[in-house]
C-alpha cells in the first residue's frame, strides 16, 4: 500500500489585524461612537439596567468621554470584556478605552503597553464569606476553597497572601463576576475574593446580603482607573483630562445642576478655564471649548457619579473613604486646569 504524507500549511490567521492606529481621537470622531470596554456585569460599576441601557460608575466615565469628544453621552458602544479578554480587546483596537475596574500596575503600564489615565476608584482586595461559617479574619481561611476571577491582579495577590501567611487554599478559577456569584451561592467555594468594591456590589445583589460578611482585611492596593493604548498621547490626554475634569468639578463645586449657569462665566478663573470661558484648554486637547461642560452634564461630577451608582444611598452602599476629595481627607487630587 502506498503511503503519502500530507504536510498541511500552518496559517497564522490575521493576527493583530486591526491593531494600533495612532490617531484614536480622529477615529472616534469619524466613527461617531466611542467603543468603551466595560465588565460583563458588575452592578454599580457597569451593568445593563432593566431597559438594557448600560449604567454604573465606570459607564459614567465612558459617557463623560463620549460627551466631551462627540457631544453625545449616549454615543457609546459598550463592549463587555472579561478579565482575560480586556487587554487583547484594547491592544487590538477593538475598543478605544477600557473602563473596567482595572488595577494600575507597573507591568500593565510598562510591559503590556497601556497608558493608565488616572484613578477613578482607590480599592483593595477583600474576602467575602457566608456568616454561618463563623470566620472573622482572613487568617482563619487555611484550607478554604476560594472563588477567584482568572487573569486578574487579585489572583496574584491571593497566591501571595496565602503563601506569605503559610496557609493552603484551593482556587476555583472563574471567568466572570456572575459565574463567581453563582458558584459562591451554591457553596462550591467558601470564600469569594475580589476588590472590596466588587464584593460590596456583588453582595448587594444577593437575596439576603446580611448573611454574608466582608472580612476586615484588605490585602492589597488596587487603584482602579480607565486606560488606553500606549503611544497615542493625544487620546490619552483626552481621557485623562476628562476624568480630571470630573474630579476637579466636584472640588470646585461644579455639578450637573449648576454647570450651565457657571459656564456663563464666574469669578473663579479655574472654573472659567475648565468650562472654556477663559483660555484655550479645549483647543489644546483637540476639542471645542465646551468639552468639560458636556462631560460634567453627562452624569454629573465625580461625587454625583459616586452617589448615584455606588454611594451610601444605593444598595451597594460604599462610603467615600479613600475616594473622597483631598480636601476631605481622601486621595482624589486633580492637577490644576491651567
Amino acid at each position: 500500500m502506498k503511503k503519502s504524507v500530507f504536510l498541511g500549511a500552518l496559517t497564522i490567521a490575521g493576527l493583530a489585524a486591526g491593531a494600533g492606529s495612532a490617531a484614536t481621537l480622529d477615529d472616534v470622531t469619524a466613527r461617531g461612537t466611542l467603543n468603551c470596554g466595560v465588565t460583563t456585569g458588575l452592578v454599580g460599576f457597569a451593568a445593563p439596567n432593566a431597559n438594557g441601557e448600560w449604567q454604573g460608575f465606570d459607564v459614567g466615565v465612558c459617557r463623560a468621554v463620549a460627551a466631551a469628544v462627540l457631544g453625545d453621552p449616549t454615543a457609546v458602544e459598550f463592549v463587555p470584556t472579561t478579565g482575560q479578554t480586556r487587554f487583547t480587546a484594547l491592544a487590538s483596537g477593538e475598543i478605544d478605552m477600557l473602563a473596567r475596574n482595572t488595577t494600575w500596575t507597573f507591568s500593565r503600564d510598562v510591559d503590556l503597553k497601556f497608558e493608565f489615565t488616572g484613578i477613578n476608584y482607590y480599592d483593595g482586595q477583600g474576602f467575602m464569606v457566608p456568616r454561618e461559617l463563623g470566620v472573622s479574619s482572613a487568617k482563619d481561611l487555611d484550607g478554604a476553597t476560594v472563588c477567584i476571577q482568572t487573569g486578574t491582579t487579585t489572583e496574584l495577590n491571593l497566591a501571595d497572601f496565602f503563601r506569605t501567611n503559610n496557609m493552603a487554599y484551593e482556587p476555583v478559577p472563574i471567568e466572570t463576576n456572575a459565574e463567581a456569584q453563582q458558584q459562591y451561592l451554591a457553596g462550591a467555594c467558601d470564600v469569594y475574593t475580589t476588590d472590596a468594591s466588587g464584593l460590596a456590589a456583588t453582595r448587594a445583589t444577593f437575596e439576603t446580603p446580611a448573611d454574608h460578611v466582608i472580612l476586615p482585611e484588605i490585602v492589597s492596593k488596587e487603584p482602579l482607573g480607565p486606560l488606553v493604548r500606549h503611544g497615542d498621547n493625544e487620546w490619552g490626554d483626552v481621557v485623562r483630562w476628562t476624568l480630571n475634569a470630573l474630579i476637579a468639578a466636584e472640588e470646585l463645586g461644579v455639578t450637573s445642576a449648576n454647570v450651565e449657569e457657571l459656564a456663563a462665566g464666574t469669578n473663579n478663573p479655574e472654573i472659567n478655564r475648565m468650562l472654556g470661558t477663559e483660555g484655550e484648554l479645549g483647543a489644546m486637547l483637540g476639542l471645542d471649548a465646551d468639552w468639560a461642560k458636556r462631560a460634567i452634564m453627562a452624569g454629573g461630577n465625580y461625587g454625583e457619579l459616586f452617589e448615584t451608582h455606588i454611594g451610601e444611598n444605593t444598595p451597594i452602599g460604599l462610603a467615600r473613604g479613600l475616594n473622597a476629595q483631598w480636601t476631605e481627607g481622601g486621595l482624589l487630587y486633580a492637577p490644576p486646569f491651567r
Partner: protein, 435 residues
C-alpha cells in the same frame, strides 16, 4: 524502410508555458507557490509591523519568569513561585489526563452503545438510539456546562457531612464523598514508599507514635512506587498471555484445551499483590477536616464535568462508527460462524469484531483527535488545562499573546500527530495483511 521521421527541433516559446501540456502543470504550480509565499510573507510582515506599532517584542523569555498564580489541579509539583513554563507543563499534563481518561471512557461507551444499537431487543435498541442522537446533536459545550451545573447545584456541600445527624453521608463504607466541590475517593499510600517523601513520612510517623499521638498522617506514594507496581502488573499480564499461547498450542496438538483461567488469574494477581504488600500499601480514606475533605484523591467538578461530557459526546459518535463497522462485515460471515457451531458471543469476538476493526480504527483516530482538541473547552468550567494556564492566565499576565498562542497551537499539533501515529501503529497491526 524507415517510417520514423525526425521531429523538428522546436525552439522554446514563452506561450508554451500556458498552451503546452508538458509545461502547463509546472507553470501553474510555480504561480501557486509564488502566491502562497506572497500571502505568507504578507501575514508575517503584517504581524511584525503591528507588533512594532504596539511596541511589543517577540520573545519567549517569559517562560522562565515566576508565574505568580496557583493551579488547583497539578500532577507535578507546582507553586505560585514556579515559572510560566512549568505552569504550561502542568496545563499540558492536565490536558493529556482528561484526553486519556476521555478517550478510554468514550471507547467503552461507544463500543457498548454501538453493539447494543444492533440488538434485536426493541427497548435496548431504542434507548441506545436516544443516547446517540441526543448527545450527537447537542453542542458539547452545553453538556459540559449542564454536568458542571448539576454537580455544583445539586450535590451536598462538604459542611452537610458534618454533625451527629448529617444531611449527607459518604458512600461505600465512608470511602467516597460526592460533594458540590467534586468527588473525593480513597487513594493508596505506601508505607515503604521509595523516595524522599516516603523517608520523611517514616521519620515523622515514628516520632508521632513515640509522642503517643493517635492518628499519624497517611503514608505517601511516589511515581517510582507506581512504576514498580505497574511494571510487575505488565510482566504478569505478559506471563498470562504466554500461558494462553501454550494452551492454544496444546489445543492444536491434542484437541484438548487445558483450563487456563485459574493459572492466568494467579499469574496476574499474586505477583502484583506481593509487591503491593512489600511496599506496605494502605488505603487512605478522605475525611472531613476544616473547610473541605482532606486526604484521598479529589476529582474536581471541572474534571468530572469535562471528562463525562467529552466521553458521552464522543462516545455517541464512536457508537455510530462501531455500528457501521459491524454492519460492514457481510452477513455471510455470521452465518458461516453459526454453521460451524460458534456461539453468538464467540462469533462476535472471533469473527465479526476482528474484521469490523479494520473499518472502525481509521475514523476512530479522528474521534480521538476531536476529543483531545475539544478538551480546550475546559475554560467553560475552569478546568486548568493548557488553554487555561499557558493560553489564558499566562498570556493575560505577560501580554505575550502571539508567543503563547503559537506555543499552544504547536502543542495541540504535536499531541494530535502523536495520537495519530500511535493509532496508525495499532491500525497496521489489525488491518488486512496483504501478501
Amino acid at each position: 524502410m524507415s517510417a520514423s521521421t525526425d521531429v523538428p527541433k522546436e525552439s522554446f516559446r514563452l506561450s508554451q508555458l500556458i498552451y503546452d501540456t508538458r509545461y502547463r502543470s509546472i507553470t501553474i504550480q510555480v504561480i501557486a507557490l509564488v502566491l502562497l509565499i506572497g500571502a505568507l510573507w504578507w501575514l508575517i510582515n503584517n504581524t511584525v509591523q503591528n507588533l512594532e506599532t504596539l511596541g511589543k517584542d517577540f520573545d519567549f523569555g517569559f517562560l522562565t519568569q515566576p508565574a505568580g498564580y496557583d493551579i488547583n489541579q497539578r500532577l507535578i509539583e507546582y507553586t505560585s513561585q514556579s515559572t510560566h513554563g512549568r505552569a504550561a507543563i502542568v496545563g499540558i499534563l492536565n490536558t493529556m489526563l482528561v484526553a486519556i481518561l476521555g478517550c478510554a471512557l468514550a471507547t467503552v461507551l461507544g463500543v457498548i452503545a454501538g453493539v447494543l444499537r444492533l440488538s434485536k431487543n426493541w427497548l435496548v435498541n431504542n434507548l441506545m438510539a436516544v443516547y446517540v442522537e441526543g448527545f450527537r446533536n447537542v453542542p458539547l459545550l452545553l453538556w459540559i456546562i449542564l454536568i458542571f451545573a448539576v454537580m455544583t447545584e445539586s450535590m451536598p456541600r462538604p459542611s452537610d457531612f458534618r454533625g451527629d445527624e448529617p444531611e449527607a453521608t459518604m458512600f461505600l463504607g465512608d470511602s467516597v464523598a460526592v460533594t458540590n466541590r467534586g468527588v473525593y475517593i480513597p487513594r493508596i499510600g505506601f508505607e515503604n514508599s521509595i523516595g524522599p517523601a516516603g523517608a520523611t513520612w517514616r521519620e515523622e510517623s515514628t516520632a508521632a507514635i513515640e509522642a503517643g499521638e493517635e492518628e499519624p498522617a497517611e503514608p505517601p506514594s511516589s511515581l517510582v512506587d507506581w512504576l514498580i507496581v505497574l511494571g510487575v502488573l505488565g510482566a504478569s499480564i505478559y506471563g498470562a498471555r504466554w500461558n494462553t499461547r501454550r494452551a492454544n498450542a496444546a489445543q492444536e496438538a491434542t484437541g484438548e484445551r487445558p483450563t487456563t483461567w485459574h493459572v492466568n488469574l494467579a499469574l496476574i494477581v499474586l505477583p502484583t499483590l506481593a509487591v503491593m504488600i512489600a511496599l506496605g500499601a494502605t488505603v487512605a480514606q478522605p475525611y472531613l477536616r476544616g473547610f473541605n475533605f482532606a486526604e484521598g484523591i479529589h476529582l474536581r467538578n471541572s474534571l468530572i464535568a469535562l471528562w463525562l461530557a467529552l466521553s458521552l459526546y464522543t462516545g455517541a459518535f464512536i457508537a455510530e462508527i462501531v455500528r457501521a463497522g459491524i454492519l460492514a462485515v457481510s452477513k455471510g460471515q455470521t452465518e458461516a460462524a453459526n454453521a460451524l457451531g460458534l456461539r453468538p458471543g464467540r462469533t462476535m469476538s472471533l469473527v465479526i469484531l476482528p474484521q469490523a476493526l479494520r473499518v472502525i480504527i481509521p475514523p476512530l483516530i479522528s474521534q480521538y483527535l476531536n476529543l483531545t482538541k475539544n478538551s480546550s473547552l475546559a475554560i467553560a468550567v475552569g478546568y486548568m488545562d493548557v488553554r487555561s494556564t499557558l493560553g489564558g492566565i499566562t498570556i493575560n499576565q505577560t501580554g505575550k499573546e502571539l508567543e503563547g498562542m503559537l506555543l499552544l497551537g504547536l502543542f495541540y499539533l504535536v499531541l494530535s500527530l502523536a495520537i495519530s501515529a500511535l493509532m496508525n501503529v495499532y491500525n497496521n497491526s489489525v488491518k488486512l495483511k496483504e501478501r
